[in-house]
Amino acid sequence: MRDFIRYGAILTVICVISGVSLAFVYSKTSVIIEARQAKEAMKAMAVVLPSATDFEPIPAIELSAASGGAQGVVEAYLGKAAGSTVGAIVKVESAGYGGMITMLVGMDTQGVCQGMQVISQSETPGLGANVKEEPFYGQFAGKKGVLSLVKEGGQIDGISGATISSKGAVAGVNKALNIAKALLGM
C-alpha cells in the first residue's frame, strides 16, 4: 500500500516537472511560431494573387453560403488593392492519392486563375508529390473556365505516373474557382 502512494507521488512529481517545463517552452515559442506562420500564409497569398496588397478574411457563414455545401473548403480571403476588390483567394482540400492535398487558389475579378500553391500534401515522393513543384502548379496561372487534364481534352499537363494526384489537384482548383466566383458575385 505504501508503495502505491510512493510510486504515485514520484510519477506525479515527474509529470508536474515535465508539464511545467513544457508550458514554459510553449509560452516562449508559440508567439514566434504563430507570427511566422502568419507571415508565411501572407507570402503564399501574395503569390497566388499578385495584384492584391491586402487580404481580408471572409466570415465562415458567408463562405459556407458561397460554397453551397461543397466539402473541403478551408477558408477564403478577398484580395484588395487601394481599397477595391481585385480578386479572391480560396483554400481548399481535395482528395489525392495519399491523402488530402491542401491548396491555395487565387482568382481575379475577370474569373482568371492567378496562381495555385500546394500548402500541404502526402502524395508519393517522386511521383504525386510533384504537384507542389513549379512545372505543375505553374500551369494554372492565366487559365479560365473549368479545367481538366490534357488527356481528358483539357489544358493542364498531368504528372506521368500520378494521374490520381493530378486529377485531385485539378478538381481542387475547379472547386476553389467556383467558390471564388460565388464570392465575387460572378
Binding site: 515559442t29 511560431i33 508519393t124 515522393p125 511521383l127
Partner: protein
C-alpha cells in the same frame, strides 16, 4: 577511456540498425533520401543524448517498477521541447524534418538505450552511449539512403530546401519507385545485412585459418 568505448560500440559493432535491428520504422521512413537520413539521424542523436543524460541523472530516484512510464514522460517531454524550439528558432530545418521530429518519441532505440544503458550507468558513459548509438543510427540510415535514393528517383543528394538539385545517376524512366516504399527499404536492408555478414564471416574464417596454420607450424 571507458566512455570512448561506450561511444565506439554504437557506431558499428552494436549498431542499432545493422546489429540490433531496432528502430526499423524511422530507419525505413528516413532512408528514402540522403538529406532526410542526415536530418532524422542528427535529430534522433540529439534527443538520444539528452534523454540518456536525464534518465541516468535521475536513475536513483526512479523506482524499478515504474521506470518505463518515467522514461516515456522524460523522452516525450524532451522531444516536444525540441520540436517547439526548432519550430520557433530553426524554421527551415523544422520544415524539412517536420514529421520526423514527433516520430522520434516512438523510435525504440531511445527507449531501448534508456532501459538497457542509461538506467544502469553513470552520466558520462550514458552521454557517450547516446552519442555513439545516435551516430550509428545516422550512419546506417545514410548508407541505406545512398542505395535507395538513386534507385528510386534516379538522382542522389536531392534537397530542394537547401538548393541542391541532386546529381543524376540513372535516367528517371529506369527509376524503381518500389525501392522508395517500406518493402523496398526492407529489401535494401536485407541485401546490406547479407553483405555485411558475408564480409565479416569471411574475414573471421580467414583469421581462424591463419591461426590454425600458425598453431600447426608451432
Amino acid at each position: 577511456m571507458s566512455a570512448f568505448k561506450e561511444f565506439k560500440k554504437g557506431l558499428w559493432a552494436e549498431s542499432p540498425t545493422f546489429a540490433m535491428l531496432i528502430g526499423m520504422c524511422p530507419a525505413m521512413i528516413s532512408s528514402t533520401a540522403v538529406s532526410n537520413a542526415v536530418g532524422m539521424g542528427l535529430a534522433a542523436t540529439f534527443v538520444l543524448v539528452f534523454s540518456n543524460l536525464f534518465i541516468s541523472a535521475l536513475r536513483n530516484m526512479i523506482p524499478d517498477k515504474i521506470r518505463i512510464p518515467c522514461f516515456i514522460v522524460v523522452i516525450a517531454t524532451f522531444v516536444t521541447i525540441v520540436d517547439l524550439s526548432m519550430a520557433a528558432y530553426l524554421p527551415d530545418l523544422h520544415r524539412i524534418l517536420g514529421v520526423f521530429v514527433p516520430l522520434i518519441v516512438v523510435n525504440c532505440i531511445i527507449l531501448a538505450r534508456a532501459e538497457a544503458f542509461a538506467y544502469k550507468n553513470g552520466v558520462v558513459d550514458s552521454i557517450a552511449d547516446g552519442l555513439g548509438m545516435g551516430l550509428g543510427f545516422t550512419l546506417a540510415v545514410i548508407i541505406l539512403a545512398i542505395i535507395r535514393e538513386p534507385i528510386a528517383t534516379g538522382k542522389i543528394l536531392y534537397a530542394k530546401d537547401f538548393g541542391f538539385e541532386g546529381i543524376k545517376l540513372i535516367p528517371a524512366k529506369f527509376a524503381a519507385a518500389l525501392v522508395d516504399k517500406p518493402v523496398g527499404g526492407f529489401m535494401t536492408l536485407g541485401f546490406v545485412l547479407a553483405s555485411i555478414n558475408g564480409i565479416t564471416s569471411r574475414s573471421k574464417k580467414a583469421k581462424q585459418a591463419s591461426a590454425a596454420c600458425a598453431a600447426k607450424e608451432v
